[in-house]
């Protein structure tokens, strides 16, 4: 059954033993009257080895949510636990793949991955660390380009380096913050397939943030929509019981795929409508400006 259910009464085992757990998370930015609550009362459980996608429109607070899990920002209220331990700050047990890639432009492909490996595997010998870094660079298909600098790479290749860096930390959980949103459709498709393959290889726990419903269905075990902010909260979760590996082209005709897509899209448009009508109740004072003719005298009209 593919009906939407609140997370709380999920009957599965993963609800009983969550690997990553967020409880009552609230986050606001700004002070005084300009203070706005971005996330409100977020509850989320992710099981070990699960691939979870959080789908939402731009500006709904998706990146804030991932920054909170990464520990780069602190919640105003609520707790986040990973593997039973509360998260108090950033750390290499949560590998982050940033939307903007965040590669260091003065380091080569290998250098960027090596920096992460050197920081995390301090006890290994230099030789072991070099081999480790090489392995992840090759895993994302950049073995032949390992000496190149980020500026010499296409967007897709840059994001591959970022994924390799995230994986090379050997994190407990991998956080992907809209990793493919800046790429063209073709590169996006290729990288989606690659991410699925890499994930299938070692079944790491992944939280993917995306604004692309198709991408979420293609990659995730479970999808949770983020209701648009301000005061964004999580919607009900949708299971994705499609067989893996999922073929991008075949999946388009799959009735399950279509059904999930319809449900999620309907849900998102419905909550978007709600939020829009809620926002429209606010009154805006429009500026009292009358249009003037800005044509310069003596010059021929641009019309």
């Amino acid at each position: 059954m593919m009906s939407a259910r609140p997370i709380d009464d999920m009957p599965t085992a993963r609800a009983a033993k969550p690997f990553l757990e967020l409880r009552g998370i609230c986050k606001s930015f700004g002070e005084g009257p300009s203070r706005s609550e971005v996330l409100s009362d977020i509850d989320l459980s992710v099981a070990e080895g699960e691939f979870l996608a959080i789908v939402g429109f731009s500006g709904s607070g998706k990146s804030t949510l991932i920054n909170l899990i990464a520990g780069l920002e602190r919640p105003d209220a609520g707790t986040i636990e990973l593997d039973g331990k509360p998260i108090t700050g950033p750390g290499p047990d949560r590998g982050v793949v940033f939307q903007s890639y965040a590669l260091l432009p003065w380091l080569s492909v290998l250098g960027n991955v090596q920096l992460a490996v050197d920081a995390v595997f301090k006890d290994e010998s230099a030789e072991e660390r070099r081999i480790r870094a090489r392995r992840y660079v090759e895993m994302v298909g950049l073995g032949a380009a390992h000496w190149k600098y980020p500026r010499e790479l296409s967007g897709g290749m840059r994001q591959r380096v970022s994924v390799a860096r995230g994986l090379a930390m050997d994190p407990k959980i991998l956080l992907l913050d809209e990793p493919l949103s800046a790429l063209d459709a073709l590169t996006r498709g290729t990288l989606q397939t690659e991410i699925e393959q890499i994930w299938a290889a070692d079944r790491k726990t992944v939280v993917l943030i995306t604004n692309d419903v198709d991408e979420a269905i293609l990659l995730a075990d479970r999808i949770v929509p983020l209701r648009p902010g301000p005061r964004a909260s999580l919607g009900p979760s949708f299971e994705v019981p499609l067989e893996r590996p999922r073929d991008r082209t075949a999946v388009n005709d799959d009735p399950h795929f279509k059904k999930i897509r319809n449900e999620i899209t309907h849900y998102l448009t419905a909550v978007m409508g709600e939020s829009a009508s809620a926002n429209s109740k606010r009154r805006f004072v429009k500026p009292d400006v009358k249009p003037r003719d800005l044509r310069l005298r003596g010059l021929p009209s641009a019309r």
Binding site: L72, P90, F98, L104, W106, A119, R151, M169
Partner: protein, 347 residues
């Protein structure tokens, strides 16, 4: 088109990127023209990048030579370009003559040494003590500015990094920087002179006192641009890069040397470039007053001379100072390109 073979176009691309990284991009259209790439556009570029400057220089020389002759001073009329050129050649000849004398001096000494040895007398080495030529003065000036600039950089870069990293440090240094930055070298010089006289008293000084004085004056005036730009560069490191460091839990030193400093390098070099320019400008004034051998002293000596050649010789010095300053600036541009990661060519 034979010019489209791969090896040829790689060689061409290499030549162009080499010119760009050397700061000689005004010659790029020439390379493109020679290789037959879009001649019309390249000729236009070439006219703009080389033709126009040539014309403007020619106009300048013409105005100078016509106007100069009409101004009479107490030591004769103002020299035109031709007189200055003659004087420049004269300085080269003088330099060569002086070198010749030096060589001859040492030859004579060799002969004497052998004679003395034959007589069984003890020989004492003597050094040639001719007066420094124009080129010796240039060399001294370059050494002075280099030492001063080096000292300034060694002080300014670390303090700039600290100021960029910590707001407390920035608050501590900011008032001092604001007050000392606009001080003229002429005000620093007497203080430096007195302090150097008091503190620098070695048995066999490796550096002359006057050399130390002018070098330190250069440092005092040229450390500010580097300091300010370094702290700005460090303070404006990309938040994403800092987040990477936080996720990796990089220790402080790694964070500073692997993330912060590389990211600030382009701005640090912008500061160093400005500093070297300031240093070179200050140096002339410092040398003039400190009586340190160098271009500044040369200008001063010529001024005191008051001969008919004075003006022409000072003008030679003006052009020398300008050209060397220009070359130092180009040098810094090349270095800046070599370290900037988002620039054109990887040098």
């Amino acid at each position: 088109m034979e010019s489209d073979t791969p090896s040829f176009s790689t060689a061409k691309a290499r030549a162009i990127s080499a010119l760009e990284s050397l700061g000689l991009e005004i010659f790029v259209p020439a390379v493109r023209l020679v290789t037959g790439e879009d001649p019309k556009v390249q000729l236009q570029d070439l006219t703009r990048s080389i033709g126009v400057p040539v014309v403007s220089i020619a106009v300048f020389l013409l105005l100078w030579s016509t106007l100069a002759a009409s101004v009479e001073t107490s030591i004769g009329s103002v020299p035109g370009p031709a007189a200055v050129w003659t004087e420049a050649k004269g300085l080269v000849v003088e330099h060569q003559a002086e070198r010749q004398k030096e060589v001859e001096f040492y030859q004579r000494m060799e002969v004497l040494k052998e004679k003395w040895a034959a007589k069984g007398k003890a020989w004492k080495e003597r050094r040639y003590s001719g007066r420094p030529t124009y080129f010796d003065q240039i060399w001294t000036s370059l050494q002075t500015v280099f030492v001063g600039f080096l000292v300034a950089s060694l002080i300014a870069v670390p303090i700039g990094i600290l100021c960029g990293l910590s707001r407390t440090m920035n608050a501590a240094f900011s008032p001092l920087i604001q007050v000392f930055k606009p001080v003229s070298p002429l005000a620093w010089l007497p203080i430096v002179m007195i302090l150097v006289s008091a503190l620098y008293t070695p048995e066999n000084p490796f550096f002359e006192k006057s050399f130390i004085t002018s070098a330190l004056t250069v440092s005092l005036c040229s450390l500010w641009p580097t300091l300010v730009n370094t702290s700005l560069g460090v303070a404006s490191v990309d938040q994403d890069h800092l987040n990477v460091a936080r996720v990796l839990k990089l220790p402080w030193t790694t964070r500073v040397f692997k993330i912060v400093v590389p990211s600030a390098l382009p701005l640090i070099f912008t500061g160093l470039r400005l500093s070297l320019g300031v240093g070179w400008m200050v140096l002339i004034a410092a040398e003039m007053l400190a009586q340190n051998p160098g271009l500044g002293k040369f200008v001063w000596d010529m001024f005191q001379n008051g001969s008919s050649q004075t003006l022409a010789q000072i003008m030679v010095a003006v052009f020398t100072i300008g050209l060397i300053g220009f070359m130092l600036d180009r040098l810094m541009v090349v270095l800046q390109r070599a370290v900037s990661f988002d620039g054109a060519a990887a040098a």
